[in-house]
């Protein structure tokens, strides 16, 4: 930048202190008063805009009373399933879900079915089936890995609790008919 450079609107010469320094010269912009007068019209336009928001009404969802509906493929808390006709558990204790789990939050201990004590349709059943929901990342790999569709991801997303121990869900809790707390999103919603 040469020394005789001037700013476009004032013609004030800029003294260049060096090549690496950028001189910024600010002068009061012209037309401040005129723009204030223009602002009156813009104010009216703004008043119209905000009033339109009142007419629109609130879009807030009153959460604990009103819930956001979820999509059918939403991955919430897991569910274990039984056969509807026989009432036997679908899970055969193969531990494929535990193997697939990237967060390592599923614990399965299998046991043999006996004729007197038949729990599942297969040869073995899950004596212990625990999911540690404080570790679960809700990826749904367990659902994919399961050969019998015994475990699926449900729609429930309200799982906060006061203690970490309470977040370890046992087989009974996962098998139990879940409280339908979360509304499902309607078609086209």
């Amino acid at each position: 930048m040469s020394d005789d450079a001037t700013t476009p609107d004032t013609g004030v010469p800029i003294h260049s202190p060096g090549e690496d320094v950028i001189a910024v010269q600010r002068v009061p912009r012209r037309g401040a008063t005129a723009s204030t007068y223009r602002a009156f019209g813009e104010t009216l336009r703004g008043l119209k805009t905000t009033f339109a928001r009142v007419v629109e009404g609130p879009t807030t969802i009153q959460y604990p009373e009103e819930k956001v509906p979820v999509y059918p493929r939403f991955r919430g808390r897991h569910k274990l399933h039984r056969f509807e006709d026989t009432g036997l558990e679908k899970c055969v204790g193969c531990s494929l879900c535990a193997a697939a789990c990237p967060a390592d939050c599923i614990r399965v201990v299998a046991a043999e079915n006996t004729p007197e004590h038949r729990v599942s349709a297969g040869e073995r059943y899950a004596a212990v089936y625990e999911i540690n929901l404080s570790r679960c990342i809700f990826c749904g790999y367990c659902e994919v890995a399961c050969p019998f569709d015994a475990i699926t991801m449900g729609h429930d997303y309200e799982m906060s609790d006061y203690s970490r121990d309470d977040l370890i869900f046992t087989k009974e809790m996962l098998l139990a008919e879940p409280l339908e707390r979360t509304p499902l999103r309607a078609e086209g919603e």
């Binding site: 204030t36 104010t43 703004g46 905000t50 928001r53 009142v54 629109e56 609130p58 879009t59």
Partner: protein, 345 residues
């Protein structure tokens, strides 16, 4: 001989004067929390949300809960602050706001049990001057609060407040001069009576706009809330206040809002008068005034929801380069018109 001091014109017994003061104070202080919750709920609507809705039915108990919260807070002050002035400032703020309240006329002189009672605090012969005197003292509340806090943000807020209040008081006063010339009286009840044929916001429309814009600045309300400007200087002059002091400043602010709404109603919207020659019985007058004030406060909140805060230099140039010339012009034109159409001696 002309009186040296302003004529206040008391004619009620002192007992009734005290009763009047208590009633006005109690009613307005009872309205105050309602306005606070109304403002918050309305601001919510302006932003597509509900506003406070949890405490009590429709969230109406919100201010009560907040007052309990503030009252139970630990009083503290910064090490750098000045104890006496720090305590005095909020008291001064709320005192001046309450004093200005005495001026708003809620109705004409009524005959209550055989005693004529004016439905207003006082009606001095210098109405608007009394108002400006107290809004000038109100500025000390802000200035002292900001300065005695011993904090940079507080001082910045107080300095802005000082400059803003002084700049806009000039335009506000000049805008009011137009009305005074038209009404030919300085008494606020007199101004109301002078609006029998036409409310002053029609002939004095420019003055009304100036008065309103200056009123926003005088009450430190958005868009001219640079005194508080929470995004830049935390909370301005009440940054260091918590608990009781903060509540006092908050109440003073809303009292000022009520006062400016009351004065605007009195001066430009015919006070207790109704249009189209409707004459209701006298006891309706305060309700009319309160309803008009309510509409005006709604407009104030609407403006708050709409306009962003200007920069400080924009605020100053608006006050001095736009409002003041316009107010002067308005006064001049009004004076010429009044003299030209004057049919007296």
């Amino acid at each position: 001989m002309r009186p040296t001091f302003a004529v206040v014109g008391y004619y009620e017994p002192w007992l009734i004067q005290i009763a009047k003061a208590v009633v006005i104070f109690a009613v307005i202080l009872g309205i105050l929390p309602i306005i606070i919750v109304y403002e918050r709920k309305l601001l919510g609507r302006f932003q597509n949300r509900y506003g406070p809705s949890r405490v009590g039915p429709f969230g109406l108990m919100q201010p009560l809960a907040e007052i309990v919260k503030f009252a139970t807070k630990e009083p503290f002050r910064p090490r750098t602050s000045m104890a006496g002035l720090f305590a005095l400032a909020p008291a001064l703020s709320i005192l001046t706001a309450t004093a200005a309240l005495a001026l708003v006329p809620f109705g004409d002189v009524q005959n209550i049990f055989g005693t004529p009672v004016g439905l207003y605090g006082i009606d001095p012969s210098i109405g608007p001057l009394y108002l400006f005197a107290f809004s000038a003292i109100a500025f000390y509340g802000i200035m002292l609060g900001g300065w005695s806090s011993g904090s940079k943000y507080s001082l910045l807020g107080a300095m802005r407040g000082a400059a803003q209040l002084i700049s806009y008081e000039v335009s506000q006063g000049l805008a009011l001069v137009g009305v005074i010339i038209t009404a030919q009286t300085l008494s606020l009840t007199g101004i109301v009576v002078a609006q029998k044929s036409m409310w002053f916001f029609i002939p004095q429309f420019l003055g009304f706009l100036i008065f309103l814009a200056a009123g926003f600045a005088e009450t430190n309300r958005s868009p001219f809330d640079l005194v508080e400007a929470d995004a830049e200087i935390v909370g301005g002059y009440f940054t260091e206040y918590g608990g009781g002091g903060f509540v006092a400043f908050l109440f003073a602010e809303y009292l000022n809002l009520i006062v400016i709404a009351g004065v605007t109603v009195t001066v430009y919207f015919g006070g207790w008068l109704l249009p189209f020659g409707i004459h209701p019985p006298g006891w309706v007058d305060p309700i009319i005034v309160l309803f008009k004030m309510f509409l005006l406060i709604t407009f104030f909140i609407w403006i708050r929801a709409t306009l962003p805060r200007p920069r400080y230099d924009q605020l100053m140039s608006f006050g001095w380069k736009v409002l003041l010339p316009l107010a002067t012009l308005n006064t001049l034109i009004t004076a010429i018109l009044v003299v030209a159409t004057h049919n007296g001696p």
